[in-house]
């Protein structure tokens, strides 16, 4: 079931949280809505869930206009950032709550709770059904929250920063599990996060938001490779933004007239004096610091007044260096019209 919003506007006092958002979230896909805090992504999700009513615009779920339907009758289950588990109920009661509301027969409730706990891989935790949320680890609580949402077999699953309260290692694992679960169930999922890496790794489609509007939407690879604006280019990946232009010889020159955006992994570092590969833009600079990242090194290169991050396989001595970037990896924007020139 496609989820669609049209011309969504939502203001809170003087603040415009949504400034005309139109977007389709395709059926059966996992769409990540990503952007910095205050970009409107959470408001968008709350409009979909029915906790916020847009000032203007419409929300469609399939062929139903749900704009003015209460949250109870939208058929969209939500996973909250805080998990919002009910601490006075056991895991079983948390999951059974919605089924009891739907007058599911008792025997079926027990079966469906068990099946759902299997689906989120909690069935191996001893005595899980009779535990209370505070007796579980953060990762387990997260899975219970997910299970509580999907136990009602919703047509749409809304996830609000579901992993932000987990530590990095568990976050990566649960991320993979959420994706696998979404694939298996074929549920239409909308996943809000501020973490661009998380968004790109998990989603079939990413929607980058900025200032209450959609900045760009598309497949993760596409958006990453072809950002339409400096904002999107800067937001995705480890990105350098330089006030500079490239001259006819390929040399990068500091200039207030243009914006160059380049990702750390696309920069080649070589001894100064070496000839840059054909079709590259280049500049001479100085390595001021090198960080070990595990898989490689990140060098901080001073070029004129600016410091640029550049990834390198091996460590580098401090001192003069030349950096080169293939032209197709370099995003150039005019200062006046922030549109990609490519």
């Amino acid at each position: 079931m496609d989820v669609r919003v049209e011309g969504l506007i939502k203001r809170y006092g003087q603040v415009t949280a949504l400034d005309g958002v139109s977007q389709t979230f395709p059926a059966g896909a996992l769409t990540a809505v990503v952007g910095p805090s205050g970009c409107g992504k959470t408001t968008l999700l709350r409009c979909l869930a029915g906790f916020a009513t847009p000032d203007r615009g419409q929300v469609w779920m399939g062929d139903r206009n749900v704009t003015h339907l209460p949250p109870q009758s939208r058929g969209a289950a939500m996973v909250f950032q805080s998990y919002a588990l009910w601490p006075h109920m056991t895991v079983f009661e948390n999951l059974a709550f919605a089924l009891r509301l739907r007058k599911v027969p008792r025997r079926d409730i027990e079966r469906r709770v068990r099946e759902t706990l299997e689906l989120v891989e909690l069935d191996r935790v001893p005595d899980i059904e009779r535990r209370r949320p505070r007796q579980l680890s953060g990762g387990q609580q997260q899975r219970v929250a997910l299970a509580r949402a999907i136990v009602v077999r919703p047509q749409v699953l809304l996830l609000d920063e579901p992993l932000s309260n987990l530590d990095a290692k568990i976050r990566h694992r649960v991320r993979v599990e959420i994706r696998a679960l979404q694939r298996r169930t074929g549920i239409t999922a909308i996943y809000v996060t501020h973490d661009q890496e998380e968004a790109m790794s998990i989603a079939d489609m990413v929607v980058v938001m900025e200032g209450g509007r959609t900045a760009q939407a598309g497949r993760p690879e596409e958006v990453y490779a072809h950002p339409k604006s400096p904002f999107v280019a800067e937001f995705l990946g480890s990105t350098n933004v330089l006030a500079a232009v490239v001259d006819l010889d390929g040399r990068i020159l500091a200039s207030p007239g243009g914006t160059l955006i380049v990702r750390a992994e696309d920069i080649q570092l070589m001894p100064s004096g070496d000839i840059p590969p054909p079709g590259s833009a280049w500049a001479d600079g100085e390595v001021v610091d090198v960080l070990f990242l595990g898989a490689g090194y990140r060098a901080y290169v001073r070029i004129g007044d600016e410091v640029v991050m550049a990834d390198h396989r091996t460590s580098l001595p401090r001192g003069p260096v030349r950096m080169a970037i293939l032209r197709e990896k370099l995003f150039t924007f005019d200062r006046a019209t922030p549109q990609s020139n490519r």
Partner: protein, 279 residues
Amino acid sequence: MAGSATPNMRDRPRGLSTLVFRAALVAVLLGAIVGPLAGLVLWSVAERWHWPAMLPQQIGLKYWIRITQGDLLTALNRSVTIATVTTVAALVAAIPVSYGAARARLPLGPVLLMLFLLPQAFPQLPVFASATVLFYRWNLAGTFAGVVLIHMVGGLVYTVWTMTAVFRAIGEDVEEAAINLGASVTRTFFRISLPLAFPGVVASAILVFIYSLDEFTGTLLVGAPYVTTLPVYMYTASLGYELQIASVTALVLMVPGVLLLVLLERFLRAEYLAFFGRL
């Protein structure tokens, strides 16, 4: 090394002046707490005690025995009944108001909260005195209902403010989670919010119960002479120079208070009280 600093501090010989000061402090504290209590106990068993003797001339349980037969038990019974009814009524009245104020769904919520605080902000006596005038006009003076109402004036402050803090401490997201899964607002309140607020309900119930049990001024003004609670009984007894009866009453009155305070300590969290008077 940070670890060696503490033992050194402890080993340092204490000055004599510090020791004397501490002993004096303990003595004053003991005197302040135990002194009046000891006096009460002594008076309650003094069958004969004439000035200027340091201790009673004759000690016995005459007055303790007298309370088991007399009207003191009736007064105790009435006090507990009034306190119970007041507590239930104050909770029933406060919970919807507090919930509305906590969720900012109540128009003029902050104004209402301040209104409930007002009777405590002014000296009690004029508040009660003016209430008494009204109660006479409404034929509530000297009635059980009148006393319950005057107790609620003070009691509602505790329930409304405590419950508002309690409901604020419950995240809105746990309610939204229930609504999202199809529960009505009413069902969400009774299945999610209220059970989660239970410790707060108990805490504010205890506060009101103790308040009502000990309330004197309002009860005397509104209830006298027909409704005699234990504090009023104690007052009348001491007016008649029956200090023994007054002492026994005071000791009896202390028991539920102490028991409930111990209980309260388990349920009341600092954040409930920290909210008092804040909007």
